[in-house]
């Protein structure tokens, strides 16, 4: 992929947006809503979010350079309402996690202050390598502390840190060793690892609350870059510029034009599509000898490259991700796709008569939502419903009688014949009628994602319909998904939840409705959607605190269904 080419495109796109209308995206004013008809933004509650492993690593990379990339394994966060990013607002903290943080901090600090790195990562040179040097320690800790804490280090605390560095320098007989121990402390600090949002009264709207400037900067950078704010963004927060409409738009546009935006987009889709599961994806090596751990790893990369290429480089319509024939292949994936390829990653376009079309037919989707030794129409259909359409597929109800699906007839050769058993049982049919038709279209691909036309010698019937739209094969399924009204609204909802770090509530209905309209009017372009979210009043508005509770997806779905989106109604 031509990275420089993509950057140019994004810069050009954003510039065009700015030139065309200043604070206007797609013809929709983002700040001055005409006629004052829009209700005041409710906003979200201020949050305490646990920084994710990738956010931590990205921040280290931007603060200390790309060589500082320790091998770390932060504790898993639970997915809440479809996103790990939302789960970070609820995640608890264990002793074992703090140990991981401490070990990581020690590794990073040792690398930053190593003889090889200190020359360019410490902005000053101490008078002596063995004695305290307050001015130099202060300069380093002030600069690094601001970037790690995402706000200036309080003056009194900074003085304490310098004193700690002095003491450690004396004890360890080394200025750099002393500084290293204090840097460990910064990296272990709750101000680094927890994103604590602060609210203040909105002077332009008495009675309303908004994020303070530094909290807004953090929310923006975690959303758009999946990393802490850079110096420029923090400066805009410090000056108060970020709290003005024009200043905010300028920063958001700068962030969208930055190469870091690609990292942010990858992180969002990695979360939304649950691609982290490829880390542990393994197939039966006897049944699928061509599928290796490299295949699993590359399948994630293929999908993310496709997304970045289509949505950013080509500035494409989000819905076309499910019909595009353009992709990127590696040697490990070429074995599954049964196409020739060279070493490394290569752009590839499947021919017009190929059954491969869009993300649903990529290995990441097909293999991730299958069993280790065979495909699964139900898992694939469930993933399509839940990940891409934000629909909730319930688990089996209580006291389900499994006798109907036990002992299936061994003469049933295809998945369609086997899952047909579910449809004969009313208890099972409700959900399986929803999950299985799209899943059966993807039976053209086995559990590893290899194309096939028959299973156990019987030809496959891949026809069906998705919410009333008929199709006859995986390509048709992609088209039906493309046209499904819930596809776009699901992305909007996920993006908004991801941006504010909270599950959607019924109070978010107006902002989601507006964002949906804008997204459609803009031709389903992702940068415009992210820009609209970042500039919406709701993004920075803070709702009064109340007792926090998690809403079940079905509750949210019910709330949204009355708000104009069109979720399916599961019959069970």
């Amino acid at each position: 992929m031509s990275h420089s080419g993509r950057k140019f495109t994004v810069v050009a796109t954003v510039s065009a947006l700015v030139l065309a209308g200043g604070l206007v995206v797609g013809g929709h004013a983002l700040f001055s809503r005409p006629g004052g008809r829009a209700p005041p933004p409710v906003g979200s509650e201020k949050r305490l979010r646990l920084i994710t492993q990738e956010q931590y690593l990205n921040t280290l990379r931007y603060v200390f350079g790309p060589d500082v990339r320790p091998e770390v394994h932060f504790a898993a966060v639970q997915r809440v309402d479809g996103l790990l990013g939302v789960g970070t607002s609820f995640a608890g903290i264990t002793d074992a996690q703090l140990e991981i943080y401490q070990q990581t901090a020690a590794t990073v600090a040792a690398q930053v202050l190593s003889p090889e790195s200190r020359g360019f990562l410490v902005p000053c040179k101490p008078a002596s390598d063995e004695r305290p040097d307050d001015p130099c320690a202060r300069e380093f800790l002030k600069t690094v502390g601001r970037l790690l804490y995402r706000r200036p280090v309080d003056a009194a605390r900074l003085t304490e840190l310098v004193q700690e560095a002095d003491q450690a320098t004396v004890g360890l007989k080394s200025f750099y060793a002393g500084l290293e121990v204090v840097l460990e402390g910064l990296l272990l600090s709750p101000d680094t690892l927890l994103v604590v949002e602060h609210a203040e009264t909105d002077p332009e709207h008495p009675g309303r609350l908004r994020l303070d400037a530094y909290s807004l900067a953090s929310r923006l950078s975690l959303f758009l870059w999946n990393a802490a704010p850079d110096d420029e963004l923090l400066s805009a927060a410090q000056s108060g510029d970020l709290l003005t409409a024009r200043g905010l738009a300028r920063e958001v546009d700068r962030m969208l034009a930055s190469p870091r935006f690609e990292t942010g987009v990858r992180a969002f889709f990695d979360d939304m599509l649950a691609l982290e599961s490829t880390r542990t994806l393994a197939k039966d090596s006897v049944i699928y000898p061509e599928f290796t751990s490299q295949t699993a790893q590359d399948s994630r990369e293929e999908t993310l490259r496709t997304i970045v290429d289509h949505l950013l480089t080509r500035h494409g319509d989000y819905r076309d991700l499910f019909t595009t024939r353009r992709t990127f292949v590696s040697p490990a994936l070429a074995a599954i796709y049964q196409i020739p390829t060279g070493p490394g990653w290569t752009p590839y376009e499947f021919p017009a008569d190929s059954p491969r079309s869009g993300l649903l037919t990529q290995v990441s989707f097909l293999a991730l939502h299958s069993h280790p030794g065979r495909s699964s129409a139900t898992k694939r259909g469930k993933a399509l419903r839940e990940l891409l359409l934000c629909q909730d597929v319930p688990r089996p109800p209580p006291d389900v009688d499994f006798s109907a699906v036990e002992n299936p007839d061994p003469n049933l050769h295809t998945a369609r014949e086997r899952v047909g058993v579910h449809l004969k049982n009313p208890t099972c049919a409700g959900c399986h009628r929803v999950t299985d038709p799209p899943g059966l279209a993807l039976e053209s691909f086995d559990g590893a994602g290899v194309y096939r036309t028959a299973e156990n010698g019987s030809p496959l019937d891949t026809s069906g319909n998705l919410d009333g739209k008929p199709f006859k094969d995986p390509v048709g399924l992609g088209l039906a998904l493309h046209d499904n009204p819930s596809l776009g609204s699901c992305l909007v909802r996920r993006a908004y939840d991801y941006a504010v770090g909270a599950p959607t509530a019924s109070r978010d209905r107006p902002v989601l409705r507006d964002l949906n309209k804008e997204f459609a009017a803009d031709g389903y372009r992702l940068p415009e959607l992210f820009r609209a979210i970042a500039l919406s009043e709701s993004f920075a508005a803070i709702a009064p605190e109340r007792v926090r509770h998690r809403q079940s997806p079905s509750t949210v779905q019910a709330a949204l269904s009355s708000g104009g989106t069109q979720p399916i109604v599961l019959a069970y």
Binding site: H73, G373, S552
Partner: protein, 452 residues
Amino acid sequence: MSKYSRRRILRGMLNGTAVSVALPLLNCFLNANGTALASGKPMPVRFGTWFWGLGATNAIFVPKKVGRDYDIPSQLAPVGRVREHVNLFTNLMAFRDGEPNLCHHSGWVIGRAGVAPKAEGDKPGETLDITIAGQIGRTTRYRTLTATATGDFRNTVSYENANAPSPPEISPINFYSRLFGPDFQDPNAPGFTPNPRAIARRSVLSGVMGEIKTLERTVGAEDRQRLDEYFSGLRHLEQQFDQQLTKPEQIAACHAPPVVKEEPRMGNEESLVAERHRMLTELMVMAVTCDQTRVFNMTYSDAQANTTQAGYEKPHHTTTHEERVDDQMHYQPHCAWFSARAIEAWASFVEAFAKVKEGDGTLLDNVLIYANTDHGEARIHSLDNMVAFTAGRAGGRIKTGLHIDAGRTSVTRVGFTAMRAMGLDVPSWGVRSNNTSQEFAEIVADSRSAHG
């Protein structure tokens, strides 16, 4: 004691070659009865858990005879090797109390936290390992250690609270490094010099703790609780630094195992899981031996186990749904194969503790391990007829070698018995129908004074 320990002499004899023999505690470390350290401190009693998914094939697992010298049906065969060290509980129940049967979730949550969950996302509150760690795990380097052989870092059955799962070790290399890397204090090392870096780190940590206090003033009640957890974690680090400044008590059987240089392959195929389980077990056993922790958790397979058999297309869980019940055998043969592999892993886990000499017995004598699962008969995802094990004598507090028919009482009785054996002064455990104040008296030793 002599400055020449037996371990040092052995090392000298072998010219420094790595040896993996377990050395018994020397008599000079023990009191006259071999039941306490020479310093007068009792031998530490430890608690562990072991988990496997999808239960057993009861038709070929549950012995007909109860009590001692019970018969060993075919699937229980590996347990025959360790029968003297374990207790087998059958006919246990996990009561739902009107809540849904959340397949693969309700069973283990009730067994570990004593309460029936209301929804799939309803994670357990504090699990019993954490409760017990509050009693016996405060003084060690690690309050608990958790590992899983599934290769998936999301698989854990240990929770500090509903939002704080204990992160499991999945990588033997990382686990080795954490336990026996540069910060490991060999209790048998000659001499002791406090690490000046630990002194500096401890000092810096005090400042970090102060930052929590500042933040606490700005957040709501729920988030304050999370900050408290963070503070507690920092306290734990502080304690670790303190330990680095204190000469550890000698433990003859403690020796860092050979460095782990290669990761086992990823995957759920049974032989890969077994190898990962073996490697992680070896490290866990030595961590317990070296008193790095007194509470530990090991998972062999997750609830809704996805272990696979090479060349067989269905993983364990799918097999329970789809495999035909054999007309002659009256059970699902492949499903039984998967369960048998889990039971083999359990027996090997117990053996690993029994191999280590400690005092005049073995490490297992001073350990109590509780093993449970998510379902009874996996074919119907039942919460009836569940099985569980304990292993070890908990320093003489638990009798072993018994098969106990629980008479359709709650699985929480096993956990409650374990909690009491670990010295917790709790009158009962569990919620509603799973609440119990009844220990399994059959396995409780008459006297608890030996190591109390």
